[in-house]
């Protein structure tokens, strides 16, 4: 019996999605270029009023330290405001269900989660958050955190592209945080969200401010069906790679993601802006070929991850087949694959693809339960996040994560040939490499110690619902997801406790801002430099050799960092499964 039930239909759907990503890259990138070069001015009066209201000089070009300080202060104040609203929602309007205050630990975690673009949720949105909290706080952060990430990527692009003046006046300036925030929101996220929300409504996603619907069944029973302004939140959830759902079941819920068509729009929306930013970067630094080289590296990793996840989930659990409990697949002679935790309306191909897309990006939306994936199927989303979510990645965050790896690659290549490393005419010197290492080391320095702490303390172990390597994977996944600002839950871990809420909140804040600071510093340092002309000794950053070297660096850095933890979790779980041992 052939245990692989991958089908040509499944591969065709994956191929169609891949082609769609390719097709939207250049138009989206071109539009982003227009926005950030200030050529889209249709909402200029609103823009000006916002700047006046906030007392911002929109013409001021900020030094990187001022840019970073503005970003941090904006995030801190908006996080505290969200915390206050969540705690006081019981006394505030737009609360038709009469929901009480959110618990302090959850309010901290949730406000950290949304300000950091993570959108990890340890609550059921429909029964915890008032409409006011959802619309004015959580949705606000969906826009603001995405625009912030986009702004950081644009700032790094400016740092690389600008002809610096050394240490003289104007050195290290990388743009204006407030302008980037407003432009990203007004011209990119808002219009795209409006279009996508309408597409979702057309597919049957609710959009209403009415309270829950009450239905009377034929048996006389009464059902309360939660609903609300779902489509609008769903749109920015995907476009902003936020991932926080209106409902607890996220995109597996039939009101959030009712059809395969809405599922397809969702996945495309997740990759739309990140793919476009790569093209925008190539254009911005004067080398669209370099942009396409980065896009190719991302695409190779995306196809590789999707293929492994689809194969593993289609193969299912061979122990089930051996016991004769595997259901018959659609293709005679093939296994049905692993349908546990998956929606029948999406099937295996679209569940595996969605999981990969959501974790390649920092979205974290789920249309199936990753905890129910096979060991290798679940390994793919985990590895995607541990590589730094640079496979198209989060809005802005994917590009700057990839550029960090590019600088590291160029540095290593320079060492290999014995020349001072250069990247697009900028020398990669001691301080640039120091910032790259601060970025690369910060993420595992958050994930691994916190995972270890949770695995030895009673409060951490109390949250485990699975024994053995699967339990370890659940904790590792949770801290990886929160620190990577992904927000997808592996499930199976009881995370709604003071211990986990607090540690997750800290992981999300550090995972976001401790990585943004060195990126902005790198942008500032590069912006100070003059651009040197390319010579015969300059390492080329286009072409297959560069892409191969970049992929090698990404995979080696990821493997060296996380392989020991992965070996104790999903890898050993897979090996034990093939040997006939399963874990409850």
């Amino acid at each position: 019996m052939n245990l692989s039930s991958t089908t040509s239909n499944g591969w065709l759907q994956i191929a169609l999605f891949a082609v769609a990503v390719l097709l939207v890259t250049k138009p989206m990138g071109w539009y982003l270029t227009q926005v950030y070069e200030g050529r889209v001015r249709c909402l200029a009066p609103i823009e000006r009023r916002l700047y006046r209201l906030a007392g911002v000089d929109a013409t001021a070009d900020q030094h990187w330290t001022a840019y970073a300080t503005s970003l941090l202060l904006f995030s801190a104040v908006s996080m505290l405001l969200t915390y206050a609203v969540l705690r006081l929602q019981g006394s505030l309007p737009f609360n038709p269900a009469g929901l009480g205050a959110v618990a302090d630990r959850q309010a901290f975690e949730t406000s950290a989660s949304f300000v950091s673009n993570t959108n990890w949720q340890s609550y059921a949105g429909e029964s915890t958050m008032s409409y006011l909290a959802q619309a004015t706080q959580l949705t606000f952060h969906n826009f603001a955190s995405a625009a912030t990430g986009l702004g950081v990527a644009v700032a790094l692009m400016r740092g690389i592209a600008r002809r610096g003046t050394g240490n003289g006046a104007g050195a290290g300036r990388i743009g204006n945080f407030w302008v980037d925030l407003v432009r990203g929101t007004l011209y990119v996220l808002l219009p795209l969200s409006c279009i996508l929300a309408l597409l979702f409504v057309q597919q049957g996603v609710p959009q209403t401010l009415d309270g829950a619907a009450v239905a009377h069944t034929l048996d006389g029973a009464v059902q309360t069906i939660a609903r609300g302004p779902v489509a609008s939140q769903e749109a920015i959830k995907q476009l902003g790679t936020n991932g926080g759902g209106f409902f607890n079941a996220n995109s597996a819920h039939p009101f959030e993601n009712p059809t395969p068509v809405s599922n397809w729009w969702s996945m495309l929306a997740i990759f739309l802006i990140p793919a476009g930013t790569v093209w925008m970067f190539g254009r911005g630094v004067g080398s669209t070929r370099h942009g396409w080289a980065l896009w190719t590296a991302m695409f190779v990793l995306f196809i590789g991850g999707t293929s492994v996840a689809y194969w593993a989930e289609s193969r299912g659990n061979p122990q089930h087949a051996a016991l004769g409990v595997d259901v018959v697949g659609a293709v005679p002679g093939h296994a049905a694959g692993n349908m546990e935790g998956k929606e029948v309306r999406f099937g295996i191909a679209n569940s595996a693809l969605y999981a990969v897309v959501s974790t390649d990006a920092s979205c974290g939306a789920v249309n199936s339960m990753h905890d129910s994936f096979t060991a290798l199927g679940g390994l793919v989303p985990l590895v995607n996040m541990q590589l730094g979510e640079l496979i198209f990645g989060g809005v802005g965050a994917g590009l700057y994560g990839m550029l960090i790896m590019v600088v590291l690659t160029v540095f290593i290549a320079g060492l290999m040939v014995g020349r001072t490393p250069e990247y697009l005419g900028k020398r990669i010197q001691q301080r640039e490499v120091q910032m790259v290492m601060c970025y690369v080391l910060a993420f595992p320095a958050i994930v691994l110690p916190l995972t270890a702490i949770a695995l030895v303390l009673p409060d951490g172990l109390a949250g485990l619902n699975n024994r053995g390597p699967h339990g370890l994977t659940e904790v590792l996944y949770a801290f990886t997801s929160t620190a990577a600002n992904n927000g997808s839950a592996f499930a199976g871990l009881t995370g709604g406790t003071t211990f986990y809420n607090t540690l997750f909140g800290i992981a999300m804040l550090l995972g976001r801002f401790a990585l943004i600071v060195p990126v902005l510093a790198l942008a500032g340092f590069l912006a100070e430099q003059r651009i040197a002309p390319a010579t015969a000794g300059t390492f080329p950053v286009t072409g297959p050799m560069f892409v191969a070297l970049l992929l090698g660096v990404i995979l080696i850095v990821g493997a060296l960092t996380y392989f020991p933890a992965l070996a104790l979790g999903p890898v050993v779980e897979h090996l034990l499964m093939t040997g006939g041992r399963l874990f409850a």
């Binding site: 990187w64 330290t65 970073a68 300080t69 941090l72 202060l73 995030s75 801190a76 996080m79 505290l80 915390y83 705690r87 302090d104 630990r105 309010a107 901290f108 406000s111 950290a112 240490n167 040939v417 014995g418 020349r419 001072t420 020398r427 010197q429 001691q430 301080r431 120091q434 910032m435 601060c438 607090t502 909140g505 800290i506 804040l509 550090l510 801002f513 401790a514 600071v517 060195p518 902005l520 510093a521 500032g524 340092f525 100070e528 040197a532 010579t535 000794g537």
Partner: protein, 46 residues
Amino acid sequence: MRDLLYLLLTVACFAVMLLYVRGCAALGRSSDGHASRGESERGLPS
């Protein structure tokens, strides 16, 4: 009381990040001097 603790935790996280900005800036200034002395020539001999 716990609200105050979470408030302090939030402020502490962002305060550390602001210090991180200053630290990176200081690191950049000190390394910049080193780089300008040691690597004024473009490229090292192969």
